[in-house]
Symmetry: C2
Subunit: 199 residues, 2 copies
């Protein structure tokens, strides 16, 4: 890196903060941007600046939106009886793309004792307030990653939501498409056997 001037090194150091980006990839991005100095770079600057100015949390579900309510919360065709609770705003798109037709609630993270994230840091008050006000919600789906933090959060939420007259569910565990039985872990395969479907 000694050979590159300071403005390049500064940008490389910042781009290295992006998830999964190391020094070589960051440098590749910088040299691409240098060639696009008149086109992509000004557009990128504007887009980055408008990111914080234009976006705020949806009043109901806490996902990012440009208005008071997000597209999903405003859409009257959405099923109001099913609420899917997710860790991050990016999960809204992932689960929406899989065909889910209900509404969402974004917690803003998971309970993570190792990272010092307790329940207070999450959007739990907005969730319980929503369940108290909106009596059309009949089911809450906990859609978290099946990892230790996700499991802890789902356990905490399932206890918290016992106080409400709603069904609480979680995503099924089983073999993903294209999986190989030989490499499936025992917990996954055990659940796949126990919850087998009739065909």
């Amino acid at each position: 890196m000694r050979e590159y001037p300071a403005p390049i090194q500064t940008l490389v150091a910042l781009l290295e903060r992006l998830p999964g980006v190391g020094p070589k990839t960051a440098l590749r991005y910088v040299f691409f941007l240098l060639k696009e100095a008149k086109t992509t770079v000004p557009a990128l600057v504007t887009a980055l600046q408008s990111l914080e100015q234009a976006l705020r949390p949806c009043r109901l579900c806490r996902t990012y939106t440009t208005d008071e309510l997000c597209d999903v919360c405003r859409d009257p065709r959405r099923d109001p009886s099913t609420l899917c609770v997710v860790a991050d705003a990016r999960d809204v798109g992932t689960i929406g793309a899989a065909g889910f037709q209900g509404r969402f609630h974004v917690l803003g993270g998971t309970i993570s004792p190792l990272e010092g994230m307790g329940p207070d840091a999450l959007e739990l008050h907005t969730l319980t307030a929503r369940l108290q006000e909106d009596r059309s919600i009949h089911e809450v789906i906990l859609a978290f990653n099946p990892d230790p933090d996700g499991e802890t959060t789902m356990l905490y939420l399932s206890r918290l939501l016992h106080a409400f007259p709603v069904k609480v569910s979680r995503l099924a565990r089983g073999l993903p498409v294209g999986a190989d039985l030989e490499f499936a872990d025992e917990a996954t395969l055990g659940d796949a056997i126990k919850r087998r479907w009739e065909v």
Copy 2:
């Protein structure tokens, strides 16, 4: 992508222009940046803006620099007799890191008939002017990728540089560290046999 508000989609579309970045990676970057809206994003905006303002081509070698001459061209300890011609400014760092002690000349690309890049688009006038003025240059190393465009450019340059009293060389072809003989192509292995070293 339907579920995300416009500022997110705009930034995703711009980040997708980066080399090797698809929609999922771009979205991952955007959600990282959303969490870093107060820290990384303003720093990134400043770094991107200063990229074009602070950098210009070195008067001699045409690499990016903040001054009239780049660090390499200014360094009196560099060997003035060996000039390494490369396609892009990023190659300066790669070849410098491999221990090359001479100076560089950045062509700004390769001759690519398929992409409509002819010799006129390259820094050839600055190269020939440099060879005419600086009589201390004894050898020109052509350090291009051994792909069709790189080979075309090296062939063109070797003919162009015949008019000057310099030795013209190219990087050796052979087996890279960690290679497997079984998977080496015939041209590489043929050259590795022909140019074998005595040990």
